[in-house]
Amino acid sequence: MAIQSKSKITVAGTRTQVQALLAHAHSPTHKRNFLETVDLQFNLTNYDPARDKRLSGSVKLPSVPRPHMTVCVLGDQHDLDRARRHGVDSLSFDDLKKLNKNKKLVKKLARRYDAFVCSETRLREIPRVLGPSLSRAGKFPTPVSHRDDLAARIVDVKSTVRFGLRRELNMAMAIGNVDMTAEQLVANIMITINYLVSCLKKGWSNVNSIVIKSTMSPPHPLF
Protein backbone atom coordinates (compact mmCIF):
# COMPACT_ATOMS: atom_id res chain seq x y z
CA MET A 1 0.00 0.00 0.00
CA ALA A 2 1.35 3.45 -0.78
CA ILE A 3 2.02 5.37 2.38
CA GLN A 4 -0.09 8.50 2.70
CA SER A 5 0.52 11.29 5.15
CA LYS A 6 -2.46 12.03 7.31
CA SER A 7 -4.62 14.65 5.66
CA LYS A 8 -3.93 18.08 7.07
CA ILE A 9 -7.34 19.47 6.18
CA THR A 10 -10.67 18.32 7.51
CA VAL A 11 -13.92 17.77 5.69
CA ALA A 12 -15.69 20.00 8.21
CA GLY A 13 -13.26 22.88 7.73
CA THR A 14 -13.46 22.59 3.96
CA ARG A 15 -17.25 22.49 4.07
CA THR A 16 -17.32 25.74 6.07
CA GLN A 17 -15.20 27.53 3.49
CA VAL A 18 -17.18 26.07 0.59
CA GLN A 19 -20.44 27.21 2.17
CA ALA A 20 -19.03 30.71 2.61
CA LEU A 21 -17.93 30.73 -1.02
CA LEU A 22 -21.35 29.56 -2.22
CA ALA A 23 -23.17 32.06 -0.02
CA HIS A 24 -21.11 34.85 -1.56
CA ALA A 25 -21.67 33.56 -5.08
CA HIS A 26 -25.43 33.34 -4.61
CA SER A 27 -25.94 36.52 -2.63
CA PRO A 28 -28.45 38.82 -4.34
CA THR A 29 -25.99 41.70 -4.43
CA HIS A 30 -23.61 39.70 -6.63
CA LYS A 31 -25.66 38.70 -9.62
CA ARG A 32 -23.66 37.22 -12.49
CA ASN A 33 -24.79 36.31 -15.96
CA PHE A 34 -22.30 33.46 -16.30
CA LEU A 35 -21.66 30.31 -14.32
CA GLU A 36 -18.69 30.95 -12.02
CA THR A 37 -16.15 28.13 -11.80
CA VAL A 38 -14.63 27.15 -8.48
CA ASP A 39 -10.85 26.98 -8.55
CA LEU A 40 -8.47 25.24 -6.20
CA GLN A 41 -5.21 27.19 -5.94
CA PHE A 42 -2.01 25.67 -4.57
CA ASN A 43 1.19 27.33 -3.48
CA LEU A 44 4.04 24.88 -2.99
CA THR A 45 7.23 25.03 -0.94
CA ASN A 46 10.49 23.02 -0.57
CA TYR A 47 10.11 22.15 -4.25
CA ASP A 48 12.47 23.03 -7.09
CA PRO A 49 10.84 22.94 -10.55
CA ALA A 50 14.31 22.94 -12.13
CA ARG A 51 15.21 19.48 -10.83
CA ASP A 52 12.44 17.88 -8.77
CA LYS A 53 10.17 15.36 -10.46
CA ARG A 54 7.49 17.15 -12.43
CA LEU A 55 4.08 17.57 -10.86
CA SER A 56 1.75 16.85 -13.77
CA GLY A 57 -1.15 14.51 -14.37
CA SER A 58 -4.89 14.15 -14.15
CA VAL A 59 -7.47 13.23 -11.53
CA LYS A 60 -11.02 11.96 -11.94
CA LEU A 61 -13.54 13.83 -9.81
CA PRO A 62 -16.75 12.44 -8.30
CA SER A 63 -18.87 15.30 -9.74
CA VAL A 64 -18.53 16.77 -13.22
CA PRO A 65 -16.96 20.23 -12.72
CA ARG A 66 -17.92 21.73 -16.10
CA PRO A 67 -21.43 20.59 -16.98
CA HIS A 68 -21.44 22.39 -20.33
CA MET A 69 -18.28 20.64 -21.55
CA THR A 70 -18.88 19.31 -25.07
CA VAL A 71 -17.65 15.92 -26.24
CA CYS A 72 -17.68 14.47 -29.76
CA VAL A 73 -17.43 10.77 -30.57
CA LEU A 74 -15.27 9.80 -33.55
CA GLY A 75 -16.42 6.31 -34.21
CA ASP A 76 -17.02 3.16 -36.09
CA GLN A 77 -20.64 2.27 -36.89
CA HIS A 78 -21.23 0.64 -33.52
CA ASP A 79 -20.08 3.71 -31.57
CA LEU A 80 -21.85 6.14 -33.92
CA ASP A 81 -25.11 4.32 -33.20
CA ARG A 82 -24.46 4.45 -29.48
CA ALA A 83 -23.57 8.13 -29.61
CA ARG A 84 -26.77 8.92 -31.48
CA ARG A 85 -28.84 7.00 -28.93
CA HIS A 86 -27.26 9.08 -26.15
CA GLY A 87 -27.70 12.38 -27.97
CA VAL A 88 -23.95 12.90 -28.24
CA ASP A 89 -22.45 14.53 -31.33
CA SER A 90 -20.49 12.12 -33.48
CA LEU A 91 -18.53 11.88 -36.70
CA SER A 92 -17.65 8.86 -38.81
CA PHE A 93 -14.24 8.25 -40.31
CA ASP A 94 -15.74 8.95 -43.72
CA ASP A 95 -16.75 12.38 -42.38
CA LEU A 96 -13.19 12.89 -41.10
CA LYS A 97 -11.61 11.81 -44.38
CA LYS A 98 -13.72 14.41 -46.19
CA LEU A 99 -11.77 17.11 -44.29
CA ASN A 100 -8.79 16.07 -46.43
CA LYS A 101 -6.34 16.91 -43.61
CA ASN A 102 -7.17 20.57 -44.25
CA LYS A 103 -5.56 22.33 -41.29
CA LYS A 104 -8.19 25.07 -41.12
CA LEU A 105 -11.07 22.58 -41.08
CA VAL A 106 -9.46 20.28 -38.53
CA LYS A 107 -8.65 23.23 -36.27
CA LYS A 108 -12.26 24.37 -36.61
CA LEU A 109 -13.40 20.90 -35.55
CA ALA A 110 -10.99 21.01 -32.61
CA ARG A 111 -12.42 24.35 -31.48
CA ARG A 112 -16.04 23.12 -31.67
CA TYR A 113 -15.59 20.55 -28.90
CA ASP A 114 -13.85 20.49 -25.55
CA ALA A 115 -12.85 16.84 -25.90
CA PHE A 116 -13.01 13.86 -28.26
CA VAL A 117 -13.56 10.17 -27.66
CA CYS A 118 -12.67 7.68 -30.38
CA SER A 119 -13.44 4.01 -31.05
CA GLU A 120 -10.44 2.10 -29.73
CA THR A 121 -10.01 0.08 -32.91
CA ARG A 122 -9.71 3.23 -35.01
CA LEU A 123 -7.84 5.61 -32.70
CA ARG A 124 -4.47 4.95 -34.33
CA GLU A 125 -5.79 6.08 -37.70
CA ILE A 126 -6.45 9.57 -36.37
CA PRO A 127 -3.02 11.11 -37.14
CA ARG A 128 -3.07 9.62 -40.65
CA VAL A 129 -6.62 10.80 -41.36
CA LEU A 130 -6.61 14.21 -39.69
CA GLY A 131 -2.93 15.18 -39.64
CA PRO A 132 -1.43 16.90 -36.60
CA SER A 133 -4.00 19.58 -35.83
CA LEU A 134 -6.01 17.70 -33.19
CA SER A 135 -2.84 16.86 -31.23
CA ARG A 136 -1.60 20.39 -31.72
CA ALA A 137 -4.82 21.74 -30.21
CA GLY A 138 -4.34 19.50 -27.19
CA LYS A 139 -7.48 17.56 -28.11
CA PHE A 140 -6.29 14.13 -29.21
CA PRO A 141 -9.08 11.66 -28.35
CA THR A 142 -9.15 9.08 -25.61
CA PRO A 143 -10.23 5.57 -26.58
CA VAL A 144 -13.56 3.83 -25.94
CA SER A 145 -14.04 0.11 -26.58
CA HIS A 146 -17.25 -1.67 -27.49
CA ARG A 147 -17.19 -3.27 -24.04
CA ASP A 148 -17.16 0.14 -22.35
CA ASP A 149 -20.38 1.94 -21.47
CA LEU A 150 -20.17 4.95 -23.80
CA ALA A 151 -22.21 7.25 -21.57
CA ALA A 152 -20.05 6.36 -18.56
CA ARG A 153 -16.90 6.91 -20.63
CA ILE A 154 -18.07 10.38 -21.58
CA VAL A 155 -18.80 11.20 -17.95
CA ASP A 156 -15.24 10.01 -17.16
CA VAL A 157 -13.86 12.43 -19.73
CA LYS A 158 -15.94 15.30 -18.35
CA SER A 159 -14.94 14.46 -14.78
CA THR A 160 -11.20 14.31 -15.40
CA VAL A 161 -9.20 17.45 -14.66
CA ARG A 162 -5.58 17.93 -15.65
CA PHE A 163 -3.00 19.66 -13.50
CA GLY A 164 0.54 20.71 -14.18
CA LEU A 165 3.09 22.87 -12.44
CA ARG A 166 5.21 25.01 -14.73
CA ARG A 167 8.22 26.99 -13.50
CA GLU A 168 6.54 28.74 -10.57
CA LEU A 169 5.25 27.24 -7.37
CA ASN A 170 1.60 28.21 -7.98
CA MET A 171 -0.99 26.07 -9.64
CA ALA A 172 -4.73 26.48 -10.13
CA MET A 173 -7.31 23.86 -11.12
CA ALA A 174 -11.00 24.29 -11.95
CA ILE A 175 -12.71 21.65 -9.81
CA GLY A 176 -16.31 22.76 -9.86
CA ASN A 177 -18.85 25.52 -10.31
CA VAL A 178 -21.12 27.53 -8.01
CA ASP A 179 -24.26 25.62 -9.03
CA MET A 180 -22.91 22.46 -7.36
CA THR A 181 -23.90 21.55 -3.83
CA ALA A 182 -21.48 22.08 -0.96
CA GLU A 183 -21.13 18.30 -0.59
CA GLN A 184 -20.25 17.84 -4.26
CA LEU A 185 -17.63 20.59 -4.07
CA VAL A 186 -16.19 19.21 -0.83
CA ALA A 187 -15.86 15.74 -2.39
CA ASN A 188 -14.14 17.13 -5.51
CA ILE A 189 -11.82 19.24 -3.37
CA MET A 190 -10.80 16.45 -0.99
CA ILE A 191 -10.10 13.95 -3.80
CA THR A 192 -8.01 16.52 -5.68
CA ILE A 193 -5.98 17.66 -2.69
CA ASN A 194 -5.23 14.13 -1.49
CA TYR A 195 -4.23 13.05 -4.99
CA LEU A 196 -1.95 16.01 -5.50
CA VAL A 197 -0.30 15.59 -2.10
CA SER A 198 0.32 11.90 -2.93
CA CYS A 199 2.26 13.02 -6.00
CA LEU A 200 4.56 15.32 -3.99
CA LYS A 201 7.84 13.85 -2.67
CA LYS A 202 7.39 15.36 0.79
CA GLY A 203 3.60 15.24 0.82
CA TRP A 204 2.10 17.96 3.00
CA SER A 205 5.56 19.41 3.69
CA ASN A 206 5.59 20.56 0.07
CA VAL A 207 2.31 22.48 0.49
CA ASN A 208 2.51 26.11 1.61
CA SER A 209 -1.13 27.08 1.14
CA ILE A 210 -4.36 25.99 -0.52
CA VAL A 211 -7.31 28.29 -1.22
CA ILE A 212 -10.60 27.96 -3.02
CA LYS A 213 -11.99 30.75 -5.06
CA SER A 214 -14.86 31.26 -7.43
CA THR A 215 -14.30 33.43 -10.51
CA MET A 216 -15.52 36.62 -8.80
CA SER A 217 -14.87 35.84 -5.14
CA PRO A 218 -12.02 36.55 -2.75
CA PRO A 219 -9.90 33.49 -1.86
CA HIS A 220 -11.03 31.23 0.98
CA PRO A 221 -8.13 29.48 2.71
CA LEU A 222 -8.24 25.72 3.22
CA PHE A 223 -4.64 25.24 4.39
Binding site: I3, R54, G57, E125, P127, G131, F140, K201
Partner: protein
Protein backbone atom coordinates in the same frame (compact mmCIF):
# COMPACT_ATOMS: atom_id res chain seq x y z
CA UNK B 1 11.65 -11.48 -3.19
CA UNK B 2 15.40 -11.12 -3.56
CA UNK B 3 17.58 -8.69 -1.66
CA UNK B 4 20.66 -6.75 -2.63
CA UNK B 5 23.15 -5.17 -0.26
CA UNK B 6 24.88 -1.84 -0.81
CA UNK B 7 28.60 -2.57 -1.28
CA UNK B 8 30.08 0.74 -2.41
CA UNK B 9 29.16 4.34 -2.96
CA UNK B 10 30.12 7.96 -3.52
CA UNK B 11 28.50 11.19 -2.39
CA UNK B 12 28.85 14.43 -4.29
CA UNK B 13 30.63 16.93 -2.06
CA UNK B 14 28.38 19.89 -2.79
CA UNK B 15 25.44 19.61 -0.35
CA UNK B 16 21.91 19.24 -1.70
CA UNK B 17 23.04 17.83 -5.06
CA UNK B 18 20.76 15.51 -7.01
CA UNK B 19 22.37 12.86 -9.21
CA UNK B 20 19.93 12.95 -12.11
CA UNK B 21 20.99 10.16 -14.44
CA UNK B 22 23.63 7.45 -14.78
CA UNK B 23 24.46 5.88 -18.12
CA UNK B 24 26.76 2.95 -18.91
CA UNK B 25 29.52 3.45 -21.51
CA UNK B 26 32.61 1.38 -22.33
CA UNK B 27 34.88 3.73 -20.37
CA UNK B 28 32.75 3.46 -17.22
CA UNK B 29 29.60 4.95 -15.76
CA UNK B 30 28.61 8.46 -16.89
CA UNK B 31 26.64 10.63 -14.48
CA UNK B 32 24.96 14.02 -14.62
CA UNK B 33 24.04 15.97 -11.51
CA UNK B 34 22.24 19.14 -10.49
CA UNK B 35 25.59 20.82 -9.75
CA UNK B 36 25.86 20.96 -13.58
CA UNK B 37 28.67 18.41 -13.70
CA UNK B 38 29.19 15.51 -16.06
CA UNK B 39 31.32 12.76 -14.51
CA UNK B 40 32.78 9.37 -15.32
CA UNK B 41 32.92 6.72 -12.59
CA UNK B 42 34.35 3.22 -12.39
CA UNK B 43 31.21 1.33 -11.36
CA UNK B 44 33.33 -1.20 -9.43
CA UNK B 45 35.17 1.54 -7.51
CA UNK B 46 32.62 4.24 -6.80
CA UNK B 47 34.22 5.31 -3.51
CA UNK B 48 37.28 6.48 -5.42
CA UNK B 49 35.09 9.25 -6.79
CA UNK B 50 34.84 10.41 -10.38
CA UNK B 51 37.67 9.37 -12.72
CA UNK B 52 36.93 12.50 -14.73
CA UNK B 53 34.55 15.42 -14.26
CA UNK B 54 33.69 18.60 -16.10
CA UNK B 55 31.23 21.43 -15.57
CA UNK B 56 28.71 21.70 -18.35
CA UNK B 57 27.53 25.06 -19.60
CA UNK B 58 23.81 24.52 -20.14
CA UNK B 59 22.43 26.92 -17.56
CA UNK B 60 20.57 24.11 -15.87
CA UNK B 61 21.50 20.61 -17.06
CA UNK B 62 18.32 18.67 -17.87
CA UNK B 63 19.21 15.50 -19.77
CA UNK B 64 21.93 13.21 -21.06
CA UNK B 65 22.00 10.32 -23.53
CA UNK B 66 24.62 7.91 -24.81
CA UNK B 67 25.45 8.49 -28.48
CA UNK B 68 28.04 5.73 -28.84
CA UNK B 69 28.51 3.33 -25.92
CA UNK B 70 31.65 1.75 -27.39
CA UNK B 71 33.39 5.03 -28.19
CA UNK B 72 32.04 6.44 -24.89
CA UNK B 73 30.40 9.45 -26.49
CA UNK B 74 27.62 11.11 -24.48
CA UNK B 75 25.45 14.13 -25.23
CA UNK B 76 23.96 16.57 -22.74
CA UNK B 77 21.53 19.49 -22.99
CA UNK B 78 19.92 22.09 -20.78
CA UNK B 79 17.75 25.07 -20.16
CA UNK B 80 19.80 27.61 -22.10
CA UNK B 81 19.03 25.63 -25.23
CA UNK B 82 22.53 24.31 -25.79
CA UNK B 83 23.48 20.76 -26.69
CA UNK B 84 26.97 19.32 -26.17
CA UNK B 85 28.62 16.10 -27.30
CA UNK B 86 31.35 14.74 -25.04
CA UNK B 87 34.13 12.24 -25.66
CA UNK B 88 34.93 10.41 -22.42
CA UNK B 89 38.10 8.85 -23.78
CA UNK B 90 40.03 12.12 -23.69
CA UNK B 91 41.47 13.51 -20.48
CA UNK B 92 39.99 15.93 -19.58
CA UNK B 93 36.60 15.13 -21.12
CA UNK B 94 36.41 17.15 -24.31
CA UNK B 95 33.55 18.47 -26.36
CA UNK B 96 33.59 16.39 -29.53
CA UNK B 97 31.85 19.01 -31.66
CA UNK B 98 29.83 22.23 -31.53
CA UNK B 99 26.09 21.83 -32.06
CA UNK B 100 24.35 24.92 -33.33
CA UNK B 101 20.91 25.76 -34.59
CA UNK B 102 18.62 26.35 -31.60
CA UNK B 103 18.58 30.03 -32.48
CA UNK B 104 15.68 30.90 -30.17
CA UNK B 105 17.57 29.24 -27.30
CA UNK B 106 14.46 27.42 -26.19
CA UNK B 107 15.10 25.24 -23.11
CA UNK B 108 15.78 21.60 -23.98
CA UNK B 109 14.20 18.93 -21.79
CA UNK B 110 14.91 15.68 -23.62
CA UNK B 111 17.43 14.04 -25.96
CA UNK B 112 17.66 10.99 -28.19
CA UNK B 113 20.58 9.66 -30.22
CA UNK B 114 20.81 7.30 -33.14
CA UNK B 115 24.38 6.32 -33.86
CA UNK B 116 23.60 4.29 -37.01
CA UNK B 117 21.92 7.29 -38.63
CA UNK B 118 24.20 9.94 -37.06
CA UNK B 119 21.11 11.67 -35.70
CA UNK B 120 20.56 13.67 -32.56
CA UNK B 121 17.07 14.78 -31.50
CA UNK B 122 16.25 17.35 -28.82
CA UNK B 123 12.82 18.06 -27.34
CA UNK B 124 12.02 21.55 -26.12
CA UNK B 125 9.89 23.20 -23.49
CA UNK B 126 6.69 24.97 -24.57
CA UNK B 127 7.72 28.51 -25.54
CA UNK B 128 5.69 31.02 -27.55
CA UNK B 129 2.86 28.45 -27.78
CA UNK B 130 5.17 25.96 -29.48
CA UNK B 131 7.08 22.86 -28.42
CA UNK B 132 9.59 21.55 -30.93
CA UNK B 133 11.65 18.50 -31.76
CA UNK B 134 14.99 19.63 -33.21
CA UNK B 135 16.99 17.19 -35.32
CA UNK B 136 20.67 17.30 -36.26
CA UNK B 137 22.72 15.17 -38.60
CA UNK B 138 25.97 15.02 -36.63
CA UNK B 139 27.99 14.97 -39.82
CA UNK B 140 27.03 18.65 -40.16
CA UNK B 141 26.29 19.77 -36.61
CA UNK B 142 26.51 23.50 -37.20
CA UNK B 143 22.96 23.72 -38.48
CA UNK B 144 19.65 22.05 -37.79
CA UNK B 145 18.60 19.33 -40.19
CA UNK B 146 14.93 19.87 -39.47
CA UNK B 147 12.56 20.88 -36.68
CA UNK B 148 9.03 19.69 -36.00
CA UNK B 149 6.56 21.76 -34.00
CA UNK B 150 3.19 20.19 -34.70
CA UNK B 151 3.60 16.86 -32.95
CA UNK B 152 2.92 18.05 -29.39
CA UNK B 153 1.22 20.96 -27.69
CA UNK B 154 3.32 21.02 -24.52
CA UNK B 155 6.81 20.30 -23.10
CA UNK B 156 8.54 17.37 -24.80
CA UNK B 157 9.78 15.24 -21.93
CA UNK B 158 10.88 12.00 -23.61
CA UNK B 159 12.49 11.06 -26.91
CA UNK B 160 13.80 7.70 -28.09
CA UNK B 161 14.79 6.34 -31.50
CA UNK B 162 13.47 2.96 -32.58
CA UNK B 163 16.04 0.20 -31.89
CA UNK B 164 16.04 -1.29 -35.40
CA UNK B 165 14.42 1.34 -37.67
CA UNK B 166 16.35 4.49 -36.72
CA UNK B 167 14.21 6.92 -38.68
CA UNK B 168 11.31 6.24 -36.30
CA UNK B 169 11.24 8.54 -33.29
CA UNK B 170 9.11 8.08 -30.17
CA UNK B 171 8.19 11.33 -28.45
CA UNK B 172 6.34 11.90 -25.18
CA UNK B 173 5.01 15.12 -23.72
CA UNK B 174 3.22 16.63 -20.76
CA UNK B 175 0.32 16.97 -23.22
CA UNK B 176 -0.25 13.27 -22.48
CA UNK B 177 0.57 11.98 -25.95
CA UNK B 178 3.05 9.36 -27.14
CA UNK B 179 3.75 9.69 -30.85
CA UNK B 180 5.83 7.72 -33.31
CA UNK B 181 7.06 9.87 -36.19
CA UNK B 182 8.97 9.02 -39.35
CA UNK B 183 11.86 11.47 -39.49
CA UNK B 184 12.47 10.76 -43.17
CA UNK B 185 9.27 12.73 -43.79
CA UNK B 186 9.55 16.49 -43.82
CA UNK B 187 5.87 17.37 -44.24
CA UNK B 188 4.36 17.62 -40.77
CA UNK B 189 0.96 16.63 -42.15
CA UNK B 190 2.23 13.12 -42.84
CA UNK B 191 4.90 12.75 -40.19
CA UNK B 192 3.11 11.05 -37.30
CA UNK B 193 2.41 7.35 -37.83
CA UNK B 194 0.68 6.57 -34.58
CA UNK B 195 -0.32 8.31 -31.34
CA UNK B 196 -1.44 6.99 -27.99
CA UNK B 197 -3.12 9.09 -25.31
CA UNK B 198 -1.43 8.01 -22.08
CA UNK B 199 -1.17 10.95 -19.71
CA UNK B 200 1.66 13.42 -18.97
CA UNK B 201 4.68 11.39 -20.10
CA UNK B 202 7.58 10.94 -17.66
CA UNK B 203 9.34 7.98 -19.27
CA UNK B 204 8.61 5.92 -22.38
CA UNK B 205 10.58 3.52 -24.53
CA UNK B 206 10.54 0.54 -26.83
CA UNK B 207 10.11 -3.14 -25.94
CA UNK B 208 10.26 -6.40 -27.83
CA UNK B 209 12.52 -5.29 -30.71
CA UNK B 210 10.49 -2.14 -31.09
CA UNK B 211 7.08 -3.68 -31.71
CA UNK B 212 5.74 -2.47 -28.39
CA UNK B 213 6.35 0.40 -26.04
CA UNK B 214 5.96 1.21 -22.35
CA UNK B 215 4.92 4.53 -20.85
CA UNK B 216 4.99 5.93 -17.32
CA UNK B 217 3.22 9.19 -16.55
CA UNK B 218 4.29 11.83 -14.06
CA UNK B 219 1.39 10.76 -11.86
CA UNK B 220 2.57 7.14 -11.91
CA UNK B 221 0.23 5.58 -14.46
CA UNK B 222 1.97 2.74 -16.31
CA UNK B 223 0.98 0.95 -19.51
CA UNK B 224 2.29 -1.06 -22.46
CA UNK B 225 1.12 -0.32 -26.01
CA UNK B 226 1.37 -2.32 -29.24
CA UNK B 227 2.61 -0.10 -32.04
CA UNK B 228 3.09 -2.50 -34.92
CA UNK B 229 1.21 -1.83 -38.14
CA UNK B 230 -0.39 -5.26 -38.06
CA UNK B 231 -2.22 -4.31 -34.88
CA UNK B 232 -3.36 -0.84 -35.87
CA UNK B 233 -6.74 -1.67 -34.36
CA UNK B 234 -5.20 -1.66 -30.88
CA UNK B 235 -5.73 1.94 -29.84
CA UNK B 236 -5.75 1.23 -26.15
CA UNK B 237 -3.02 -0.22 -23.96
CA UNK B 238 -2.35 -3.97 -24.16
CA UNK B 239 -1.37 -3.77 -20.49
CA UNK B 240 -2.95 -1.01 -18.43
CA UNK B 241 -1.47 -1.15 -14.94
CA UNK B 242 -3.18 2.10 -13.95
CA UNK B 243 -1.59 3.71 -10.90
CA UNK B 244 1.58 1.64 -10.38
CA UNK B 245 1.75 2.77 -6.76
CA UNK B 246 -1.35 0.72 -5.96
CA UNK B 247 -0.40 -2.15 -8.28
CA UNK B 248 3.02 -2.89 -6.75
CA UNK B 249 2.95 -0.99 -3.45
CA UNK B 250 5.31 1.96 -3.85
CA UNK B 251 5.35 5.76 -3.79
CA UNK B 252 6.96 6.54 -7.16
CA UNK B 253 8.44 5.11 -10.34
CA UNK B 254 12.06 6.17 -10.93
CA UNK B 255 12.86 4.77 -14.36
CA UNK B 256 12.46 1.80 -16.71
CA UNK B 257 15.47 0.02 -18.23
CA UNK B 258 14.75 -2.29 -21.19
CA UNK B 259 16.48 -5.67 -21.14
CA UNK B 260 19.06 -6.03 -23.86
CA UNK B 261 18.16 -8.79 -26.29
CA UNK B 262 15.11 -9.69 -24.28
CA UNK B 263 11.51 -8.73 -24.58
CA UNK B 264 10.89 -7.00 -21.35
CA UNK B 265 12.26 -4.40 -19.01
CA UNK B 266 13.12 -3.69 -15.40
CA UNK B 267 10.95 -1.09 -13.67
CA UNK B 268 12.55 0.74 -10.74
CA UNK B 269 10.05 1.82 -8.07
CA UNK B 270 10.65 3.37 -4.67
CA UNK B 271 9.08 4.19 -1.32
CA UNK B 272 10.98 7.02 0.26
CA UNK B 273 9.09 6.75 3.57
CA UNK B 274 10.41 3.20 3.91
CA UNK B 275 13.84 4.03 2.42
CA UNK B 276 13.21 1.28 -0.10
CA UNK B 277 13.90 0.83 -3.81
CA UNK B 278 12.72 -2.19 -5.79
CA UNK B 279 13.30 -3.63 -9.24
CA UNK B 280 10.21 -5.21 -10.78
CA UNK B 281 10.36 -7.26 -13.97
CA UNK B 282 8.02 -6.32 -16.81
CA UNK B 283 7.72 -9.51 -18.86
CA UNK B 284 5.41 -11.54 -21.03
CA UNK B 285 3.94 -14.56 -19.30
CA UNK B 286 3.36 -17.97 -20.81
CA UNK B 287 0.04 -16.71 -22.14
CA UNK B 288 1.79 -13.99 -24.16
CA UNK B 289 0.35 -11.28 -21.92
CA UNK B 290 2.47 -8.52 -20.40
CA UNK B 291 2.59 -8.31 -16.64
CA UNK B 292 4.59 -6.96 -13.71
CA UNK B 293 6.16 -9.92 -11.94
CA UNK B 294 5.49 -9.42 -8.24
CA UNK B 295 7.04 -12.77 -7.32
CA UNK B 296 10.63 -12.06 -8.26
CA UNK B 297 10.98 -8.45 -7.09
CA UNK B 298 14.54 -7.39 -6.18
CA UNK B 299 14.72 -5.17 -3.09
CA UNK B 300 17.42 -2.60 -2.31
CA UNK B 301 16.73 -1.80 1.34
CA UNK B 302 18.13 1.53 2.49
CA UNK B 303 18.02 2.86 -1.08
CA UNK B 304 19.02 6.56 -0.92
CA UNK B 305 17.45 7.18 2.45
CA UNK B 306 14.39 9.37 2.34
CA UNK B 307 15.44 10.88 -0.97
CA UNK B 308 14.23 9.66 -4.35
CA UNK B 309 16.20 7.36 -6.64
CA UNK B 310 16.36 8.95 -10.10
CA UNK B 311 18.23 6.41 -12.21
CA UNK B 312 19.63 2.88 -12.11
CA UNK B 313 21.84 0.66 -14.25
CA UNK B 314 22.35 -3.08 -14.04
CA UNK B 315 25.42 -5.01 -15.10
CA UNK B 316 24.16 -8.57 -15.54
CA UNK B 317 27.53 -10.36 -15.81
CA UNK B 318 29.00 -8.66 -12.76
CA UNK B 319 25.71 -9.09 -10.84
CA UNK B 320 25.91 -5.41 -10.02
CA UNK B 321 23.20 -2.76 -9.80
CA UNK B 322 24.09 0.92 -9.53
CA UNK B 323 21.58 3.54 -8.35
CA UNK B 324 21.72 7.34 -8.33
CA UNK B 325 19.58 9.57 -6.16
CA UNK B 326 18.53 12.95 -4.86
CA UNK B 327 20.73 12.44 -1.78
CA UNK B 328 23.72 13.19 -4.04
CA UNK B 329 24.75 9.56 -3.90
CA UNK B 330 25.76 6.92 -6.43
CA UNK B 331 25.56 3.45 -4.81
CA UNK B 332 26.36 -0.04 -6.04
CA UNK B 333 24.55 -3.16 -4.92
CA UNK B 334 25.17 -6.92 -5.08
CA UNK B 335 23.13 -9.98 -4.11
CA UNK B 336 23.27 -10.56 -0.36
Amino acid sequence: MYQLTAVDGYKYSKPDTYVLEILPVAAGLAAIASDQTLSLFDPTRLNAGPLKQIRTDHGNLTCARVYDPVESIVCTAGENGTVSIWDFRTNPIKAAMQIKGNTDQVPILSLACSNPSHTLAAGTELANHQASILLWDLRSPSSLKISYSEIHSDDITELTFHPTTPNLLLSGSTDGLLSISDTLITDEDDLVLTTFNHGSVHHAGFLNQGTELYAASHDEKFAVYDMSDETIDKGAAVLDVGDIREAVGCQYLANVVPKLGGQGAVVGVGSQDQEMFQLVHLAKGGDGQWGLDRESVVALPGAHGQELVRSFVFYDEQQLVVTAGEDGGVRSWRPT
